[in-house]
Symmetry: C2
Subunit: 166 residues, 2 copies
């Protein structure tokens, strides 16, 4: 039986105005901290943004309505002086956070930083994140506006499984 | 409450000789397929290896005993003609697979491909994986030899959470 949060996790881009508690955000970040990191470097830190002015400035950089509308944004950063695998570590932690948010009835989505628009650099500057930290995405968190449809076997393709070799 | 598989997932490098069923491996891969991918590219394919000769050859490349000893190895690959985010997508799918394996009482670990030893290239050649596919890790799957200790709040560091800015 597939873990129910894996079935229920969907990308959510429209959020209710309802606020998200500090306890829920802490729990989501805790799940992120329990993710594996390369050689157990544990070099990820988390920035939690609720201030509307900051969210508006982030919107100016990434041009996605949901970063203005979500009650909370989480940006995770990995210290590249501690690991050679910041992208992998941040991705894995992101998935744990997505799943934990799902467990709490919350919605999230991966807003990727677009390299061609130097979004990572602009966000780091805005938030005062030191140069050595890598960031790859923004995770907005909020209560989904619409009911989500869980994954089913229709999303499973057994033909993508190769036995023993390609 | 943190999702129990997130609490219980630990890196496992020693496996019982007991085999792992095809049903369990399919379920783990299904969880991997239910992971989000950039722009929903769904360009990940999975290679399942049980043949001892192949595992021995993989050991010659990556020099980790557990790739010989685990009953099953899963190698996921992402089609770089379909996505600019193969590392992120493979990482996120890996975490879903780790968690689903945990739900099934199985152990896993992320064996990273070391760039300086061109491990990715050698594995792709061994398995006949086309050039355009990116691989980042091997996921061995087996029943853990030792009892695992779940994460606790000792693994949580609230000081890594920054409010509003760095």
């Amino acid at each position: 039986m597939i873990i129910k949060e894996i079935l229920n996790r969907r990308s959510v881009r429209e959020y209710q105005e309802k606020d998200v508690s500090k306890e829920d955000i802490d729990e989501i970040i805790k799940a992120g901290q329990f993710a594996p990191t390369a050689s157990n470097n544990r070099a990820i830190e988390f920035i939690v943004i609720r201030d509307q002015q900051t969210k508006d400035k982030i919107f100016e950089i990434v041009s996605q309505e949901f970063v203005k509308e979500a009650p909370v944004l989480i940006i995770s950063v990995s210290d590249t002086t501690q690991t050679n695998c910041p992208v992998q570590d941040l991705s894995v932690a992101s998935e744990n956070m997505f799943l934990q948010a799902t467990a709490l009835g919350l919605g999230t989505v991966w807003k990727n930083f677009e390299a061609e628009h130097t979004e990572e650099e602009k966000i780091k500057k805005l938030l005062g994140i030191p140069e050595q930290y890598k960031a790859i995405n923004i995770i907005p968190v909020g209560y989904p506006k619409e009911k989500l449809i869980p994954h089913t076997d229709e999303d499973f393709n057994a033909q993508k499984i190769h036995q023993e070799k390609w």
